[in-house]
Each structure stands twice: as C-alpha cells, then as structure tokens.
Assembly symmetry: C2
Homo-oligomer: 325 residues x 2
C-alpha cells in the first residue's frame, strides 16, 4: 500500500504518523504533504523524509489532516489520482455517497465508499463510543452532552497558545492572550463557544454531534442537545453525558455493556480524566449513574484523546477495516 | 452593629472583609476570629486588627466562613452569645428552623430565623440566580446542571495548588500535584468528582443542588440532575444548565426575565466566562437557546464568582436584608 498524509506537520498529521509507526500496516511507500512546512524533515520508522507539495499520483490511500477548505480544494486532484481519501475534516461528512465511520459502530458502512470516507468530529467520536454501548442494549432516543474541550482540538496552535499564556503568567502574573487562536484568554478560563454561532443560539460545533450521530448510528430522529466549551486542558476532550433510551435500563446492564465494548475502558472505581486518557487510543468512561429527572436516563462522564481516537486513531482504524474488505 | 467574622483568614473570610469595606453597613465594632492565623494582622477600612481566638460575647452578628465541623463545634457558644449566625458552611442548611437564603429569591424566609441563617452552596447560588428568573415565568420542574468549578471553591489552598502546579510546569514542563488539596493534578486536567461518592453514584456536592434548590425555591418535588467537575480555573464557577418548565416558554420571555432580574446580567452578544465574572457581585448568563430534546426545555450557560455571590456577597446581602426587618 502506497500512502500519503495530507497536512503532515499539523497536530493530527503528526499523530497519524505516530499511529502508523505503532501499528502493522502493509506500507510499501509513504509520502508527506504540507504547505508552509514543505521541505521540513519527518522521521518515519527510522527513515527521514521531506514534506512535499501535494502531488497524489501513484498513491493508494491519502489520509487527510487538513481544514475543510483545503480538503475541498484538493478533492478533484485526489479523485483523479484514484486514491482512497480518508478525510478528517468536515468537508464531506454529510455527502450521501460518503460513509461517516466510527469502526466500532458502523464499519459495515465503509464498503459503500465512493473514494472518500469521512472521519467524524472529535467530540462526536468520543461521546458515541460510550453511547453506542447503551444503544446496543436499548434504542437511544436522545443525548444531552456538555463538553470540556482541550485546546489542541484547535490544532497545534491551540496548544502553543495555552503554553504561551502559561509561561507569561509565570513571568508577570497576568492572564493574557498571546495569539488569535481563541477570542479570549484560555488559561484559567472557560470559553463557552466553539465554532460560529447560529441564529438558533447553537454553535456549528454543537450541531455537529446531532447531525453526525444520526448518520453514524443510523437513527434518523435522534435528538442531541449539546453545549461545547473550551477549557484550559492541553489534550483530551471530556463530555458529561445523559443518554435517554426507549425503555428503562438497569445500571448493571450498562456496566456490562461498557465493560465489553471494544475500544472503551469502563472505570468503576476511578475517574475518566484528560490526565488518564491522553496519549491512549481507548476512550475512558465512568461516573455512571441513573439520571435523577427521567426514568429512562443514564448519566456518565467520558474522556478520550481527541487527537488519537477523536481523529488520527479513528482514521487509521477506518483504513485497517478498509484493507480487510 | 457589632460584627465578627469566624474564619477571617480563609478565601471566603477575606472576601467577606472586602465586601464589608465596599458596602455601607452600620458597623460600630468588628472582630476577626481564626485558628492557625491567630495574631496575624488584618486591615479593615484603614485600621489594623489582630485575628483573635473565637470569643463571641457582645457581638450582634457573626459571619461564618469555616468548615461544617468547625461551625458545628462553635454553635453552642454562638447561640449562648445571642448573636445572629450567618453561616456559609453546609452544617445547618437543612435544619427545619434554619432559613436557607438567596435574597433575590427568598428573602422573606429570613424572618423565620432562630439565630441561624444558612448560605447555600456556591454552585447552587449561581445556578439558581438564573433558574429563578425562569421560575417566575413558569414553574420549573427540573434542572440538568453540569459544572465547571474553580479551584478556589476548595478554599485558598486550592488556588495555591493551581499556582504551585503552574509554576512547576513552567520550570520543568511536567504536570504534578504539589499538595493533597485535590486527589489528582488539576493543571490542564478536569476532575469529575467533588465531595464524597455515594452508593447511588452521585457525589455529596452533586446532591446539594437538588436538596438546597427545593428548600430555597419552595418546590418540594423539584428534580435536579447534576454533574460537578473541578477545572483549572482560578476563580468563578460556570454551569451549563437545562431547565424544564411546566409549560413551554418563548426565548424572548426568558431574555426579558434574565434582563430584568436583580443581580443577574444577561449577555446577549457576549459570553459568560470566569474571566468576565471574577471579582464581580453579579451573576452572568448567556448562550440562551431552546433545548433540542424537550419542548419545555431552556438551555443556557451561567457564570459567577463563587467567592463573592457564591459565598461572601450572598452572606452580606442576607445581613443587609436582616437589618431591614
């Protein structure tokens, strides 16, 4: 398999490279594509490579770790090359011909690709990894999700901003913005807006979860109420979730489902936290309890590394399942 | 009025002193009580005082800024002194003879005091300041609340811990605990447990909001589903809230109610954040929108300084209303 990574020097691109190094894939050739980073060196399995301008001829698979606009800009070239495009951006997630896949949930959708397979939003992946375990027990009708999203969800520059603000605080005791990655200082703050705000009061990020969950879980009328908040965490998104099912479930059933779900680690006596989940491919779930308002509600806290399972790991798991077709 | 502050050197005690300096109360004598801090100096309105061992004779009012255990330990002495005790701890909040008061909601309960008036939990106060505006429009039946709680909610030592971890990170690039205030590092982390964990999966902190809200709002069957999470924020708690009402409300009604509520600032075009709310007596609410799951649900984000309105300011507002009786 000849593979290329589009956007190799970003946070997700670099994580894709690390994930490919950790796993055994039949790679015979690998190429790295970038823009401002062209000419920079990348080490992959002890060999050095240079980041090239995007040029896709001769490749079988391209992993996309770029923005929606850039993905859209290159899609004609990618299609012409005949390579499969596994895209981490939101550009094609809702195209009818593009499967949107979390392999642990809907790997059977991969076969219907038409040259593009889309990777879902990071918070969506982490939340649904736990929600799907419940959905297998009894149909999920709605999800209330409140997020604690890490700065690296905004890319490598988000992490640089948090670090820069932290260093400045240690020097002068003040909290102040150092770049325009976020609209407000993020150190010691919570910013309850990610993405653009619509006329209905929801942000683009908040609406993604419902739209994507419907497609991934194949539940056309699933309702999702979501609040997305940026917090001063370097890495790993956390989500406080309440799931509503058609019928009432017992906690012991949910515990068993969480414990037996591939890629999910149930913490009965410990806490899912960024500190625990960071740099792990699994999603961590805990604080399981019954909703106190609705008899058919289950409440829990879930945490996952949004650069790994929320992006790079999920894309490479899609590739692994594609190769089994 | 002769007034004493029990626990004058803690985070809440120091804030009470500052609030008393900012406001016009008929104080003829003030005394400051502590334990490990006995002998330390405190400046109040340009005069210097020494922190004394607790001794209540001759006082009219005592503001309590100590733990439940200490409050319970001194209550016999306080009662014997004849002074009114306005207590910030959870020691007496659910005693039948003790009013639990947020003046903007139930100041009429103050008259029924029997020598003690209790100040509610900080997250409860901040959340209910917004919820009550809706409850005046239409009866609130349930609240789903997910918190982002600042480290100073664990007292001055919580803030010291965050600062110590921040300085250590700048020195050696590592995130590590510097004291035992929290069970895990808090810098760049989220800890989804505050208080002890019960057999039903809820923490003591999470159950406070339902029990206290029922008493403050006089709604015996109010249901509250709460998730409490400690975040690396120095000061001010944030809460993502969904409120369910008996009947469906329009957002314009809620906007008007938020805008016209004393002590509440509605941000239509800006975000309620710790950065905005810190060191302010008002509670900030925004991100108002309809719940996407239930037709009778209203979703919003609220943020308030938990040392001011969540503790010291509320206690002193109780005192101000008591003086008007």
């Amino acid at each position: 398999m000849k593979i290329g990574i589009l956007g190799a020097s970003g946070a997700v691109g670099r994580q894709m490279i690390q994930c490919l190094e950790e796993r055994e894939l039949p790679i015979t050739e690998i190429r790295f594509f970038g823009f401002g980073s062209v000419g920079q060196e990348i080490t992959f399995k002890d060999r050095r490579y240079k980041i090239e301008k995007p040029f896709f001829t001769g490749l079988d698979v391209i992993l996309g770790a770029v923005s929606s606009d850039i993905a859209k800009g290159y899609i004609t070239d990618i299609k012409a090359s005949g390579a499969l495009f596994i895209d981490n951006s939101s550009a094609f997630r809702h195209d009818a011909e593009v499967p949107l896949v979390i392999p642990q949930i809907n790997k059977e959708d991969i076969v219907n690709h038409h040259g593009i397979i889309a990777n879902p939003n990071c918070s969506t992946i982490i939340t649904l990894m736990a929600v799907q375990a419940i959905n297998k027990l009894n149909p999920v009708t709605a999800i209330n999700a409140v997020t604690y999203q890490a700065v690296s969800g905004a890319g490598a520059k988000g992490l640089e901003e948090l670090n820069a603000e932290t260093v400045a605080f240690c020097q002068d005791g003040k909290v102040e913005r150092k770049s325009d990655v976020f609209n407000y200082p993020i150190l010691f703050n919570c910013i309850p807006q990610i993405g653009d705000l619509g006329s209905d009061g929801y942000t683009s990020e908040e609406l993604k979860m419902e739209k994507e969950a419907r497609k991934i879980m194949h539940i056309a009328d699933l309702k999702v109420n979501c609040t997305c908040v940026r917090v001063p965490v370097a890495r790993s998104h956390s989500i406080a979730v309440t799931v509503y099912t058609k019928d009432r479930l017992e906690l012991t059933q949910v515990e068993a489902a969480f414990s037996n779900s591939e890629g999910l680690i149930y913490l009965k006596n410990d806490l899912p936290m960024p500190l625990v989940a960071s740099n792990r491919d699994e999603v961590f779930v805990g604080r399981l309890r019954k909703d106190r308002i609705f008899a058919n509600g289950i409440t829990f806290f879930v945490c996952g590394d949004q650069i790994r399972k929320g992006a790079a790991t999920n894309a490479i798991e899609i590739l692994e399942h594609f190769l089994k077709l």
